[in-house]
Symmetry: C4
Subunit: 193 residues, 4 copies
């Protein structure tokens, strides 16, 4: 029951983040094709961020379903994750408007990195509550994707200052890697339910 | 139970989309009647989009009530639908501010078209989960409205470049056609419950 | 169960409306007392609208608790109500920024009037579903406040063009009249539950 | 059940407030490091306000879990609290953009003060419903933090006009004091459940 309200609140915040990002796609003041062209990178960044937030919602959903209780630590770890997710609209807009230049691209990576780290912290706290030998810990296993992502983000942050477009490609790549939701949890849950 | 959270999240996103659209109706800087006149097309487009989003919410509500489970595919098909719905505020604002000129009117059609297609995909995935011979498949039957809408949107996109106001009329027409919620599902549910 | 999702969606929309209104209270570009003065009418209008939306949420909450089912008509009557409520941020911002001049003040009244009418329609549809002799119909009784409000709004619309501040006073007065939530329903529910 | 909808609505409003605040962090028009520097105070204020709203959500969550019923008074006390919380985005943006100058810093304190007072009122009404000898009243005990906070805010308001940065430090201090959620309630609930 406690988990329910944490889920509901997180759902609310994530729903607002995913929708508010579209406000960076500002209505242009003309109506010919030329006015749409500068919006293309903003649109592409929006689509990428939409997928990222969607991935977080998906995985968050599966993770919290496995959690049987909520401690003060889990609550704050969850708010910490939401804080970094809430910066998505800002970095998305900044990167989109500046056509993937160095600093905005690096900042996008920093937010992705921090969101990944804060998700990892939340996961650890929930696993700790269940015990290292629990089904959740077992299911997560080595958690290759969860460990690889922050490393790739860190590389992309550095790459941003050399070749921003390459950094952008890494962000797309990681998104594709995660696109397939956490089947391990899903499968385990199916077995459980 | 899984369906519940998908519903709740979709409700959240749709609620935000429908409300955020009103922000395109910008508070004018005067207080005489002349300042309201340019807002009239924005208001009309807002009302039209409100009805469209309302229709999607209605039908989405009935569709998900029939779904007994949520697969990863359904989750992503749902996010795909929400993505296109999230572009409503942008195209609504753009069409309204440019008084139904060609390109904005066509873009409005593209978003309507893609939303209709993504709804169709979501529906197919839910039907597939239940089996083609299920009550849901039976209820949907030939799904004339669902098949007709994308065709009409496609026509309207083309018509936008010849006579934008005619395209606008098609959008209004399709909205009226859908205004009556999916009674087939409703009736079937009543029989079921 | 059906009622639940209608409630949840309405709650979402109303929560967004009530919060989005505050965006009209724009952060000024200075930091001395003079920069706050022009914000005072905006703040007062915001507080008034906050109370109005709060009243609607309260009464809507009590009304839907009594509803045992949701028809297509009720769904659309509810969306109709949400449509007029969604115009609160616009008219609130406009009236606030123009210091209660004639036209913005009249428009504020029009939105209040239409919201009251659409609430009345929703109420009638729910009563009709239960039957005129039902406990709900009995509880509502003569519904003096519900009948008086639109009349007072209509008067205030006319008064706006003569003495806008008087119209504003009527809006405050009606808000005070409704401030006390629909105790009839509350009392009846207590008896029922 | 009644409590549920009050919780859900409050969650919605708080989720929107916490997310809308990020909109004050406006996307800059350049992409070099210099464009980020003026955003630093805005970012820091955002982080502080995020923690404050998070604290309110946490404590509100624990408080409402103990409430067994909702009276009209509790409903309005709750809306009153939401009203002051809704002003967080405004004062956060104003203080951040003006680099913690006197008046914005004092206004931030006024909103914190009013939010604390309105929370206290809500708490009292819920305690009164349960009776002074109830487990809730017992759990809250002397409520040192709840009594100390408004006093500290009041001091900070005065200090703002002498040394705004000192006022800022008080706000950070009180946030840290509250960071640890209301363990008294949590512990009591664990005993109860």
């Amino acid at each position: 029951m406690e988990t329910n309200r944490l889920e509901a609140f997180s759902d609310g915040v994530i729903a607002i983040i995913i929708t508010i990002m579209v406000l960076e796609l500002r209505v242009p003041h003309g109506s010919d094709l030329g006015t749409l062209r500068p919006l293309l990178p903003v649109f592409l960044t929006y689509a990428l961020s939409f997928i990222y937030v969607g991935i977080y919602w998906n995985n968050h959903h599966h993770l919290l379903k496995t959690a049987r209780g909520v401690t003060a630590g889990i609550m704050w770890a969850n708010l910490h994750l939401l804080f970094w997710l809430s910066l998505f609209p800002f970095v998305t807009g900044w990167m989109g408007e500046n056509h993937f230049t160095a600093l905005p691209s690096a900042c996008y990576g920093v937010v992705l990195f921090m969101a990944a780290v804060s998700y990892k912290i939340l996961q650890s706290l929930i696993v700790r509550l269940h015990g290292e030998s629990s089904r959740l810990a077992e299911t997560l296993g080595s958690d290759v994707k969860g460990k690889l992502s922050p490393i790739l983000y860190a590389i992309a942050i550095g790459v941003s200052f050399i070749q921003p477009w390459l950094a952008g490609s890494i962000y797309v790549l990681v998104a594709l890697m995660w696109f397939i939701p956490d089947r391990r949890l899903e499968r385990s849950m199916d077995r459980g339910a």
